[in-house]
């Protein structure tokens, strides 16, 4: 039976059930409960929790442990996640898996504690130096957070690449009914890990292997796009939204349809790889695509424009509803569409 769970606690418990053996991290609001929960839960199961001196140290502890094949994770929020970027680049350079959790808060620098999606571009583009991508899941409910976390280690190990769960402050703080999958563990040797014997480790940055990075990116883009479409097939206006804004957007679809406006929703579940294939369902008669996101400057809208250019015929206008430091409300979204119809709201691309 489902029980009420706080997002941050649920993601931590899901990590345990997915076989996470080691967590290293540094407290930062609004994700501190992840580490707090694990500090209590991991020793109960003979696993290791380590409060690091800073974010960088934490990511390199994960780096060292996953080099040896131990299922390891770290978590943080915007500013702390910035500090981890160098370590993420090192994980990618070495072809090491890992699971990273970013419970986003709004803004650059110290920012605020408000719920946001302002780390979108950094996290989907790689974020650190060099040529790499991180597989990024963007759940929109606590149950989905749990389900995605449960598979995150498997996917990370399959591609030997970090996997990130991109959460949001509100999704970390809120509670919803959740059902957990059973505990699992990966017993087999991954074959490449450090075990003292100096067997081959298959570093991706070996200059003897040109094209290896591109090959990995293409494989992930081909196999791992995930999305959910809602009433897209006959829509005149299609929202594209992930995470919590996708929920208010879906309510807005229903409200708009009651008003006789044919709206639909594409909800990326992976934001990298971006689900280009979801756009195939958009009808040729579509009048506009609308990115709905909790940012000020507009970030997701760039991927929406790219996908629209690639997947839609003609020059379909791409709009952006940028709600800044909060989740866009259902009514705001409806009003925004009415503003497009009246010519008041102009396209971004």
């Amino acid at each position: 039976m489902k029980k009420m769970w706080k997002g941050n606690h649920a993601i931590a418990e899901a990590a345990m059930r997915a076989g996470c053996e080691f967590y290293a991290g540094y407290p930062i609001t609004p994700q501190t409960e992840v580490g707090e929960y694990l500090s209590s839960r991991m020793p109960e199961l003979g696993r290791r929790f380590l409060q690091a001196e800073n974010e960088m140290s934490a990511i390199y502890m994960i780096f060292g442990a996953y080099a040896c094949g131990m299922r390891s994770m770290t978590s943080s929020s915007g500013p702390g996640f910035s500090l981890k970027q160098e370590g993420i680049a090192y994980l990618c350079a070495n072809n090491f898996p890992s699971v990273l959790v970013n419970v986003q808060r709004w803004g650059p620098g110290l920012g605020t504690l408000d719920s946001s999606q302002t780390d979108y571009l950094r996290d989907t583009r790689g974020g650190g130096n060099g040529d790499y991508r991180v597989i990024v899941y963007a759940p929109n409910s606590i149950q989905e957070t749990v389900d995605l976390m449960y598979n995150a280690f498997d996917v990370a190990e399959k591609y030997r690449n970090p996997v990130e769960i991109l959460s949001e402050a509100a999704l970390g703080q809120m509670m919803e009914p959740v059902e957990f999958p059973p505990f699992k563990e990966r017993k087999e040797d991954l074959g490449w890990t450090f075990d003292g014997t100096d067997r081959p480790h298959g570093r991706i940055d070996n200059p003897g292997k040109p094209g290896a990075l591109r090959a990995k990116v293409e494989a992930i883009m081909a196999n791992e796009q995930r999305w959910e479409n809602y009433m897209v097939e006959d829509a005149d206006y299609v929202f594209v939204a992930f995470g919590l804004p996708s929920r208010t957007s879906r309510n807005a679809v229903d409200l708009l349809r009651e008003q006789g406006i044919k709206a639909g929703l594409i909800r990326p579940i992976t934001v990298w790889p971006f689900p280009f294939d979801a756009f195939k369902e958009i009808p040729g008669t579509v009048k506009g695509i609308i990115s709905v996101e909790s940012t000020d400057a507009g970030q997701l809208v760039e991927d929406v424009a790219l996908a629209t250019k690639r997947m839609c015929r003609g020059n379909v206008p791409v709009y952006g509803l940028f709600s800044g430091q909060k989740i866009p409300k259902t009514k705001e979204i409806v009003t925004y569409v009415n503003g497009i119809l009246s010519g008041e709201n102009k396209e971004v691309f």
């Binding site: 009420m4 609004p30 509100a170 919803e176 009914p177 929920r247 208010t248 409300k329 259902t330």
Partner: protein, 176 residues
């Protein structure tokens, strides 16, 4: 259904939200509970938002309230989110009689603290408010609500408080 419990930190508005959420869950609904956290908590202001529905629930934060439970006077600011004809449960122990409330709303005045004290459970003003709200709005049958309330405290290992909490619940339930 969208409900906000608001008050000072310490008035149990987060717990009140959780209790309602558990009742809705028991009723087979989809539920979200969202606390005020971080900067919104400053100045001792606290609230929780509970939404439940048969279908999918949108954003977890305040959008269009059906019910506002105002445990203190500053909480009345959230009436701005209340639907026309929405219900405000006002804790008269912490809200003055002349506090301005728009006539579009239905106001239920309950001396939550006084009634909690009457039930020998002065910490349970929040549970009094829940009792009043459930009766007024006909949210759940009395026995079902009491059973969930009991279960919550049993699960927390606080079984010895179940009778006191039920007494507080009934004070609120019978006050409207």
């Amino acid at each position: 259904m969208e409900v906000v419990f608001a008050g000072f930190g310490g008035q149990g508005v987060l717990t009140a939200g959780l209790i309602l959420a558990e009742m809705a869950l028991e009723d087979g609904k989809n539920v979200t509970w969202m606390p005020a956290y971080g900067p919104t908590m400053r100045g001792g202001k606290a609230y929780s938002v509970v939404k439940y529905a048969d279908g999918m629930i949108g954003g977890p934060d305040m959008e269009e309230l059906d019910i506002l439970v105002a445990m203190n006077e500053p909480s009345l600011e959230y009436a701005a989110y209340l639907k026309d004809g929405g219900v405000i449960i006002v804790n008269t122990n912490n809200v003055s009689e002349d506090a301005k409330i728009d006539s579009r709303f239905e106001v239920v005045r309950v001396p939550c603290l006084t009634l909690a004290q009457k039930a020998s459970n002065p910490k349970a003003a929040n549970i009094v408010a829940i009792g009043a709200m459930i009766k007024k709005c006909g949210l759940f049958p009395e026995e079902r609500a009491k059973e969930v309330l009991r279960q919550i405290f049993v699960n927390k290992g606080k079984e010895k408080y179940t009778a006191m909490n039920e007494a507080a619940f009934m004070e609120g339930y019978q006050a409207v």
